[in-house]
């Protein structure tokens, strides 16, 4: 059983809860006096408990709102009357603007005055923070109960708003700017000094920035409405943009590109540091964007086009500075459009130059060649000149290839050293390389010539690695080439001559090259080339077989002519390579060449042997491509022994010389007679007679009358007085090596090429249509181009013509009712 207590406890609580009504004015008086003490930094004698208790009592008695308003009023008065005047006092003359918007005083004076002002503002703000912190502690119960229940901002937030309104937003004097505007101006001024290299008190500014970051545009305290963002940062970014715009323009005029890059980079770093040390980290990305805009994005074009810009850097191999430019643009745009454009422009410029030089070189030599063309049968003296000219053209071709490779190496190197092997830029560089290589109409021929030259001479005495590098070079350029079919034509032609004339230095390297091309360009590309090698091997076997066959027959006639033979598959070999442009008509006459019996016997013998092995094949003798080793005996002169010489000459020359074997001494034969007895085409005949009777070192025949040209009615006789210091020599015939084509040849090659392209296009179109049956015109075009792109870039007009032709020949028909032009395959 519990005993009812004496009432002490109950009374005790009653006292706590039920205490008499609070005298608001009196209680507020106590608080106000204490607040005064707090603001004058005399709080240490105050009792927290007492103040808390009084505020608590007021709020408990539902006078929270009155208390709240009283405190706000108190703060407003305090800030307006005491604090503001203290700050305004520091607005000394150097800080005030004159009519022109600039102060008259020196920078140092301005800085000092500004610092004083900033210090006083910083002090006021910090005091306010401390005091309001203490007031908030005392008024905790009011915040918790009154403010929460009535959705009022806490007294701390309220007082911050008061600080903003009373201190920052109130004009210093009527019609003059507010302290906030002045503060912004002063900070900007100090930052400008910092940018100019003068030391400023960064921490002081940072403290003021803290203040702006702690204040909001409205009492709602919305996070992105901080006073710093709303008022200061905007102005800061604007003025910075103006400053850097001006500075960038000035630097573009005054300094060189490398310095500009370094400066821009330094400015960006500086601004980042400034945000960290002086302003707010939140501004870093924004100011960075501003500086990047003004110093890089908007100036990139100007920077690149400067006199000391990118083209100067490339010309002078300023790799480091190029890397600076790259870094700058990479910073603002991962695509690096301006730099890429500039590099492409440079490559095209330099490449066009190379192309132009090559054309110029070929044109410089084209004149004597043209002269020869005009008077093919007349001036013998131009021959040496034109041979030299053609040689010069070959040199031009080699130079072109080397130059192009040099250009590529150069830009590859720049890309690697300066652009961090950037994908975008290197792709663009490659594209431009392809453009200039394909812009050069003789590219295919020149590349093939480059390989030809290396196969014949270039790889002599070179190590495997060096040869490898050379082949790689050729492949490198080849990769860019779009008209691979033209290249194939030239390569076949050149390879043909190398193989048949035994000019190739190493068959192994030739095969290596083919293997590389196979990897690079595909099987179909090298099919015919490989067939050529196969023919060569088969021919060797065949010749050996024949030789054994003859030996077995027991017909060991020592005078029998030995036969070396190359059996060539007709479609694989570009036999026209051996014809000059002027002897197109020679086709039918070739078969009718008249052989002397000793030769004809061998020929027939081989034909017999061959048809035994392969029945049903027809052999066509390409006399114009053969050569012969002959032994010539010359009568002794002035008591010497008869001299013998081993000579190598063309098959034609052999046939001519054999005529003179049977001729009595002192007799001569006319040109016409020779022609009739040998049936050698006139052009070839003249050419061979020229080397036999005109050329100094191989004048085995005497011509009557003596002149440089072979003319109708000329007569020839054996030159008994022939002398040579060599026992073995070669009777050269004009035009045997691989040279740059003449204009006529080129036209022919082009024509031939167009024809074969036409066939390729038709084949592709038929293939596609056979599969698709119906197809729209546009789609057919795209698919055809895709199919053929490995070989060449087909001309759209040519495709259209081919389609027309296919329609005419009733492979396709137009679909009349189709909404878009379409075709149907006719089976």
């Amino acid at each position: 059983m519990l005993i009812v207590p004496a009432g002490r406890m109950a009374n005790g609580y009653k006292k706590g809860l039920n205490g008499a009504d609070v005298d608001f004015e009196k209680t507020w008086g106590i608080l106000e006096k204490a607040f005064q003490e707090i603001h004058t930094k005399n709080a240490s004698a105050l009792s927290f408990e007492e103040l808390y208790r009084n505020a608590y009592k007021i709020v408990l008695k539902k006078k929270g709102e009155e208390l709240y308003n009283k405190v706000a009023q108190f703060e407003e008065n305090w800030l307006g009357n005491n604090v503001r005047t203290g700050i305004v006092k520091h607005l000394t003359a150097p800080l005030m603007l004159d009519g022109t918007g600039r102060t008259l005083n020196t920078q140092a004076e301005r800085r000092e005055a500004g610092e004083k002002f900033l210090k006083s503002l910083k002090g006021a703000w910090e005091d306010h923070q401390v005091c309001m912190g203490m007031l908030t502690d005392v008024l905790m119960y009011m915040d918790r109960v009154y403010c929460t229940d009535h959705r009022q901002p806490s007294i701390f937030a309220k007082s911050m708003g008061l600080f903003r309104d009373q201190i920052l937003r109130t004009p210093v004097r009527p019609d003059s700017p507010t302290l906030l505007e002045i503060l912004t101006r002063i900070i900007l001024d100090q930052i400008q000094m910092d940018r100019d290299g003068e030391a400023i008190d960064q921490f002081l500014i940072k403290s003021n920035v803290y203040m702006l970051e702690g204040l909001y545009d409205s009492d709602q305290e919305v996070e992105d409405e901080k006073l710093y963002l709303r008022s200061f940062e905007r102005v800061f970014l604007q003025s910075s943009a103006a400053f850097y715009r001006e500075e960038g323009e000035r630097l573009l005029k005054e300094s060189d590109a490398g310095t500009y890059c370094r400066h821009a980079k330094r400015r960006i770093d500086e601004e980042n540091d400034r945000c960290r040390s002086t302003l707010s980290e939140a501004t870093t990305p924004k100011i960075q964007r501003v500086v990047e805009d003004e110093l890089i994005r908007h100036k990139m074009k100007g920077l690149i086009e400067m006199e000391t810009g990118v083209s100067f850097m490339v010309e002078n191999d300023k790799l480091h500075e190029l890397s600076l430019v790259f870094d700058l643009e990479a910073r603002v745009n991962p695509q690096k459009p301006e730099l890429t454009k500039a590099m492409q422009k440079l490559i095209v410029e330099m490449g066009t130059n190379i192309n132009r030089n090559a054309v110029a070189a070929s044109q410089a030599t084209a004149q004597p060649a043209a002269a020869e063309d005009a008077a093919d049968d007349a001036p013998g003296k131009s021959k040496a000149g034109s041979a030299k000219a053609i040689n010069q053209q070959t040199v031009a071709a080699l130079k072109w290839v080397e130059d192009i490779l040099g250009l590529k190496d150069r830009f590859d190197n720049i890309c690697k050293a300066s652009f961090a092997a950037d994908q975008t830029v290197s792709t663009a560089i490659n594209r431009s390389m392809a453009d200039i290589i394909n812009a050069f109409s003789r590219g295919s021929e020149y590349i093939s010539l480059f390989i030809d030259d290396n196969m014949k001479k270039g790889i002599k005495n070179k190590s495997e690695a060096e040869i490898d590098a050379t082949l790689e070079k050729a492949i490198t350029i080849l990769r860019y080439l779009s008209d691979k079919d033209i290249f194939e034509t030239y390569y076949k032609k050149h390879l043909c001559k190398r193989l048949l004339l035994n000019k190739s230095h190493s068959i192994a390297v030739e095969k290596q090259m083919i293997t590389r091309m196979k990897i690079e360009l595909g099987n179909s590309f090298t099919l015919k080339l490989e067939a050529m090698f196969k023919d060569m091997t088969l021919s060797e076997d065949l010749a050996n077989g024949y030789r054994n066959h003859v030996r077995k027959l027991g017909d060991a006639d020592p005078k029998r002519v030995d036969l070396g033979i190359n059996v060539l598959t007709a479609m694989t070999w570009p036999l026209e390579a051996f014809k000059s442009a002027s002897e197109q008509e020679g086709q039918e006459s070739r078969a009718q060449v008249i052989y002397p019996p000793s030769i004809d016997r061998v020929r027939l013998g081989f034909e017999r042997y061959y048809s035994e092995k392969h029945s049903g094949r027809k052999l066509t003798w390409q006399t114009n491509m053969g050569d012969a080793d002959i032994k010539g005996t010359f009568p002794k002169s002035k008591g010497d022994k008869p001299r013998t010489h081993d000579m190598n000459c063309s098959t034609y020359a052999m046939l001519i010389l054999l005529l003179f074997n049977d001729l009595p001494d002192g007799q001569s034969i006319s040109l016409e007679e020779i022609q009739v007895r040998t049936n050698i085409p006139m052009n070839d005949l003249k050419r061979n007679l020229q080397s036999l009777s005109v050329a100094q070192k191989t004048r085995l025949l005497v011509k009557e009358p003596m002149s440089r040209e072979i003319n109708a009615g000329d007569r020839f006789s054996f030159n008994e007085n022939f002398k040579s210091e060599f026992t073995r020599f070669k009777i050269g015939v004009v035009s045997a090596g691989n040279k740059v084509e003449g204009d006529k040849e080129r036209k022919e090659t082009e024509k031939k090429n167009n024809d074969s392209r036409g066939f390729a296009i038709e084949a592709a179109v038929v293939r596609i249509m056979k599969q698709r049956k119906d197809l729209a015109h546009a789609q057919l075009l795209t698919e055809t181009i895709t199919q053929l792109s490995a070989q060449f870039k087909p001309d759209v007009n040519m495709i259209k013509k081919r389609i027309e032709s296919l329609i005419e020949r009733e492979y396709l028909e137009r679909i009349e009712e189709a909404p878009v032009p379409s075709y149907r395959y006719l089976a």
């Binding site: 519990l2 005993i3 009812v4 207590p5 406890m9 109950a10 005790g12 609580y13 009653k14 006292k15 706590g16 809860l17 039920n18 205490g19 707090i38 709080a43 240490s44 004698a45 105050l46 009792s47 927290f48 408990e49 007492e50 103040l51 808390y52 208790r53 608590y56 009592k57 408990l60 401390v130 912190g133 203490m134 502690d137 905790m140 119960y141 918790r144 109960v145 229940d149």
Partner: protein
């Protein structure tokens, strides 16, 4: 995070209960205390580390720039020493019982009211709800006593009405015993007091209405309201 069990570590951890007991014992051990609290004629030597995290009044008093912080002495002028004692004890031990004060189980109700008010004043975590719960239990024992009437009057006249926990506690007990309270003569005092507290009457009527509805009609469902 690793999910490997680490039984060897579990054995190394301290017995949490023992630790709590030790903390509780600190209340009576002034050895390392760093703050004195005075109220009326009583005084306590306490530890800031225990007190301040549980009440921002004490925290601010100790860290602010006022007299208390320098003297490490807080004098509570307007509070009841017993309530203060119970509050401090609660802060140390988390216990809320009257085992120390024998004899006055009777007055416990009033103490709860005082505790609740103090918890609100000094913003002591968990103390308010603890006091409300305790008052409910006390009321269900002592509803017939005169002191219950006193407590109701006290709560409805003098206590801030923003926290309804105490009121709900009293209301539910009153509703439970409403027949007795309004029928027997010995509760005339209660009825007289109730007459002066329209707020309480209103709340009681609502509470009763809910109870009547609950027992006579099936609870409302969504389909009912749709009809």
């Amino acid at each position: 995070m690793s999910t490997i069990e680490e039984p060897w570590k579990a054995e190394c951890s301290r017995d949490a209960e023992g630790l709590l007991l030790e903390v509780g014992c600190l209340f009576k051990d002034p050895k390392y205390s760093d703050l004195r609290i005075k109220c009326g004629d009583r005084g306590w030597k306490v530890h800031k580390a225990i007190i301040c995290p549980q009440s921002d009044f004490f925290a601010k008093a100790c860290e602010g720039g006022f007299k208390e912080a320098q003297e490490n002495l807080i004098a509570l002028q307007d509070d009841d020493p017993d309530v203060v004692h119970a509050m401090l004890r609660f802060m140390y031990t988390g216990d809320f019982d009257n085992s120390e004060n024998e004899d006055n189980g009777h007055s416990w109700g009033m103490l709860c009211v005082g505790m609740h008010a103090t918890a609100d004043k000094y913003n002591v975590a968990d103390l308010g709800s603890m006091a409300a719960e305790s008052l409910r239990q006390w009321s269900s024992h002592f509803w017939a006593e005169e002191l219950f009437t006193e407590v109701v009057r006290e709560v409805y006249t003098n206590l801030a009405d923003r926290d309804s926990r105490l009121r709900n506690a009293l209301l539910s007990v009153a509703a439970e015993h409403v027949q007795s309270l309004f029928a027997y003569r010995r509760h005339a005092g209660f009825r007289e007091m109730v007459g002066t507290l329209p707020g309480f009457l209103m709340a009681l009527a609502s509470e009763l209405a809910v109870r009547v509805t609950d027992s006579h009609y099936p609870p409302f469902t969504d389909s009912d309201s749709a009809r």
